[in-house]
């Protein structure tokens, strides 16, 4: 049994004590980055206060402690996503973006040839687009897009023909613009039937879901600590042991080698092969604390809470501003997370966010690193509100109130 109460999470989260422009902060930008609870902040500072030393090959006590903390975080991440091979399948990266660059440059370069297809979608974050374009330019692969329908969901009607020549399907689990949650398990099955592998962008999907890589039967997963109450500067790349062992190194340097001679080097085994240089040790300590914290709250309970908040917000936004505020995303909450992109009539997203800031409401204007998706819907930008485990209906109240002010100012 978990004891999840979002009001408790709120009390645990120092940033939520802020008063912005005379208003209690209404933080609605968790899709960009989430707010760490005290336990995460303390784990980072405790690490620096008591244990800091470089990891691996240390003999003295604090170096051993630092190594234990770092490797312990690997185990925590493995448990959180149910990695079948445990900690040895977890590679720490800087973030989701670096994890995709690792996938493209290591697995991609080793396995993809000119003409091979990587199938992504129109709703991808640039992190899951640009590394494939790099590979297209270097290797000659084809980058193919699953279109997004007018219902803001993947249009899978032509999936069979889209699958021709595909070696990798790489999709976001949950759109950071639309909130749409994609049928990853079904798509993984289709990918495997066609002899392709399945990669998932878990930046939102892991942060706002219950993740089980075995149940979803996927092959690669990328996610970021800072989107799930952890620190910035650490992300995770996961793949099955067999695939990981066959992947060549990407970044070279210290830490990723077994031996270096004048005529070459032998790479290290396991995840260390992909972790060149001093890794994000303090960040790993913070990530482990965040994962523990989320496990205690219960990811399923958080999902249910965020879904209820989303349903309420969608209904109220629609009710209050019908015709003046368009929601760029599904209006129902089936397979939909707590990300609400708004197109406000006559008010540019930049101005929406500016006016909302005056009322302490934090929303993000812009293309959200998904320009192909923006173009698909004829938009340059949206103003996006997104929920986290600490969000309450009072944040929605503040949003609706401030949106009313923005509409009045620009009417």
């Amino acid at each position: 049994m978990t004891s999840y109460d979002p009001r408790r999470v709120r009390i645990d989260t120092p940033v939520l004590e802020r008063v912005i422009n005379g208003h209690p902060i209404a933080y609605l930008d968790s899709a960009s980055s989430s707010l760490p609870p005290r336990t995460v902040i303390e784990a980072v500072s405790r690490y620096y206060e008591l244990h800091h030393a470089n990891v691996h090959r240390g003999v003295f006590q604090t170096a051993n402690e630092a190594t234990e903390i770092y490797e312990g975080a690997r185990a925590a991440a493995a448990r959180y996503i149910n990695a079948p091979g445990g900690a040895d399948e977890i590679v720490f990266t800087k973030n989701t973006t670096e994890a995709f660059n690792l996938l493209a440059n290591s697995w991609g370069v080793a396995n993809l040839r000119a003409g091979d297809v990587v199938l992504i979608s129109e709703m991808e974050h640039h992190a899951n687009i640009v590394p494939w374009f790099h590979l297209r330019d270097r290797v000659g692969i084809e980058v193919r897009f699953i279109p997004v329908g007018d219902d803001f969901r993947l249009d899978l009607s032509n999936l069979e023909s889209l699958m021709r020549g595909v070696k990798l399907v790489s999709l976001t689990g949950m759109s950071n613009v639309l909130g749409t949650i994609n049928p990853i398990g079904d798509l993984a099955r289709v990918a495997h039937e066609h002899g392709a592998l399945m990669a998932v962008d878990g930046a939102q999907w892991v942060a706002h879901g219950v993740t089980d890589v075995v149940a979803a039967d996927i092959d690669f997963l990328a996610f970021s600590g800072h989107k799930m109450l952890g620190p910035t500067g650490i992300g995770v790349f996961w793949t099955r042991t067999a695939l990981l062992e066959a992947m060549p190194p990407f970044l070279g340097g210290g830490g990723m080698i077994a031996d270096v001679r004048l005529d070459g080097y032998v790479p290290a085994d396991g995840p260390a092969r992909f972790e060149a240089g001093t890794p994000p040790i303090a960040e790993a300590a913070g990530l482990a604390a965040a994962l523990r914290y989320l496990e205690n709250l219960g990811p399923a309970a958080i999902v249910a809470h965020e879904r209820a908040l989303t349903a309420d917000a969608l209904a109220r936004l629609h009710g209050e501003f019908a015709g003046r505020v368009r929601i760029i995303g599904p209006l129902d909450t089936v397979d939909r997370g707590g990300v609400i992109s708004l197109d406000v009539e006559g008010v540019h997203p930049h101005d929406v966010a500016q006016v909302l800031d005056q009322y302490g409401v934090c929303v993000r204007p812009g293309h959200h690193c998904a320009k192909p998706l923006m173009r698909r819907f004829g938009l340059a930008a949206t103003a996006r509100a997104s929920f986290g485990p600490y969000s309450l209906t009072r944040d929605t109240d503040a949003l609706i109130d401030a949106l009313g002010h923005a509409l009045t100012l620009f009417s």
Binding site: G22, P349, H350, Q354, Q358, K371, A380
Partner: protein
């Protein structure tokens, strides 16, 4: 505390709602594009320069209220002006945005014409933008694009 009224002055909202000099100019008018990748603002500027005078200016594109109002205000201020005055106006705008050191020698643009004076005064409505540093880029897009257009060989 920076106040929203400093940013969204009535003149700015007016120029945002009814932008001046919208449209295109046929060649030989110069056509230059400006982008603000941060917010996706796009501007296409057409300027017709003849005998050292900016005879006409028009623009298309989209953006936030600040970028739209700034381009509209700019067009009203520079249209029909000799190039040296246009450059002086650009300089005083950039000084206002804190992008240039104010210099004594600069002086104010000629105020012998009431309507020119009015358009300079209107540009001052943008002064509040400096209190919102992230919005300075929105305000300067049009001016940078104009500078670029004038720098192009004709």
């Amino acid at each position: 505390m920076a106040n929203l009224d400093d940013l969204y002055r009535d003149i700015i909202l007016d120029h945002y709602r009814s932008p001046r000099n919208r449209g295109e100019l046929p060649p030989p008018a110069r056509r230059v594009e400006g982008f603000n990748p941060l917010c996706g603002d796009e501007l296409v500027l057409y300027v017709d320069v003849r005998d050292g005078v900016l005879v006409d200016i028009k623009m298309t594109g989209h953006g936030c209220s600040i970028s739209q109002a700034s381009s509209s205000l700019m067009s009203a201020a520079v249209k029909g002006r000799p190039l040296d005055e246009v450059h002086a106006t650009i300089e005083s705008f950039k000084t206002m945005m804190g992008l240039r050191e104010a210099s004594l020698s600069e002086g104010r643009p000629d105020d012998d014409d009431a309507s020119d004076l009015r358009s300079m005064k209107e540009i001052n409505a943008l002064a509040g933008v400096v209190k919102f540093p992230v919005r300075i880029k929105c305000a300067t897009l049009a001016w940078n694009t104009l500078e670029q257009a004038l720098a192009e060989p004709s």
